[in-house]
Symmetry: C2
Subunit: 229 residues, 2 copies
DNA sequence: TGACGACAATGGCGCAACGCAAAGCCACCG
DNA sequence: CGGTGGCTTTGCGTTGCGCCATTGTCGTCA
């Protein structure tokens, strides 16, 4: 579900008189502010991916953006809030890709499953740093709380959605004796394993192992619906 | 290779005059010291697994052990050194299990591969906290440097060893057209994916997905040598 | 058009936490 | 009984977060 676009509103709790103002105010100040917010988020992603959570401080983020640390505190009220916004942003990005590749209208269940495979692979190829941020966030127990709120529910939803598609394929294709749950969980393991391992050992990136193995498992389960390439 | 047993010696650079002293000195003080070292390592593992790297401090470790923080500094000269010792300890533990299950004399290549599967699964089941520590260490870029020195070489060696076993099986079994490299890499992905995912989402632990899927892939590649159970 | 108000952004400060080094204490070995 | 070695106490220096007063910038209303 392409949820909230709340990202930009993150830090502002000021009462703007509730007047409906979203439409008109072609305001250069507001534009500048939102641009700053995005630049801060981008810088944070960059820093986390490159140096890890531990060495990321407000002043370094500010330095990387080219502003003072107080600006960061101004837009996001605290460090934790900033991290929350970052994870929300990345989650939304993944969601957008998933919607495009999996939920596009007119696709067959088989095509949707292939779309899901594509989604995992493309995301990792296009934005390795984003994947790194996901991994970093979900490792440390403290930041993991944030991940549990924002990232994990989506993750579980994607796995469940894929599982439903597999069930549909099994039913319509007349397959019996296929252990759908194990298969879905395996695909999940593979995706996260690939992401984690690539983050850990970037040199081995960009081989086609993930895709090949997933197709192998799918072919093994539904030979008439998934061809090996 | 069951490398160094240097763990206990980690923090001491004091010149003990080079005199060979490893044998005799049945010294209660020394025993106490080594017990302290082990307790510190255990406490550190516990804390990292439960709270993450960020919130682990020297004083918390000391508090958890029931001593002053300076004791920790005394045994390991710095925080980084302590972490290095912890990772070394865990690495040695895994190595011991691997040697038992994979390199035991008299095993056939097939049994060795099954032993490797067992190894990954048992380690995660017996010591989930140890796995968590591995994951935590290899995520943050800073601690990752330590992991790259101590953990990663072993990891790569295990994968390579498994790959060699698969090659041997393929050769002796007369299999052709099996993509060994992809298979070995897939098993690697699965292991790390399972570890990472279980660390991330502990509630789903202890299903048999990892084993089932690995056996499925092995059966698919070498049907006469690996049976589905 | 000029003054006001909202909003973006700055620099600096206080407080707390942490790592680490120095010096002394005390048990135990020879 | 001298001294080695494990362990504690104390305190210093550094670093980071978050708040404050303030400045600069741009719409808006008289």
């Amino acid at each position: 579900m392409a949820q909230r676009k709340a990202t930009a509103e993150a830090g502002k709790s000021k009462a703007t008189k509730g007047a409906a103002n979203d439409a008109a105010p072609k305001d250069r100040r507001r534009e500048r502010g939102e641009a700053s917010i995005q630049r801060i988020i981008d810088a944070t992603i960059e820093l986390i991916a490159e140096e890890g959570l531990a060495s990321v401080t407000m002043q370094r983020i500010a330095e990387h953006v080219g502003s003072s640390n107080a600006l960061v505190v101004f837009h996001f009220r605290s460090k934790e809030n900033l991290f929350r916004a970052v994870l929300q942003y990345l989650s939304d990005q993944y969601d957008a890709l998933w919607v495009t590749l999996v939920r596009a209208p007119g696709l067959s269940p088989v095509e949707r499953v292939l779309g899901a495979v594509d989604c995992a692979q493309r995301f990792a190829r296009l934005h390795p740093k984003w994947v790194s941020v996901f991994v970093v966030f979900s490792s440390d127990r403290k930041s993991m709380q944030i991940y549990n709120e924002i990232g994990l529910p989506s993750d579980l939803a994607y796995t469940a959605e894929a599982r439903d598609l597999l069930i549909e394929i099994a039913r319509d294709g007349g397959y019996t004796g296929v252990d759908i749950d194990t298969l879905a969980e395996s695909l999940n393991y593979l995706v996260h394993g690939a992401w984690y391992w690539d983050h850990l050992n970037p040199s081995s990136r960009d081989t086609d192992v993930l895709r090949k193995t997933m197709l192998l498992l799918l072919h093994q389960a539904f030979p008439r619906h998934f061809e090996l390439e």
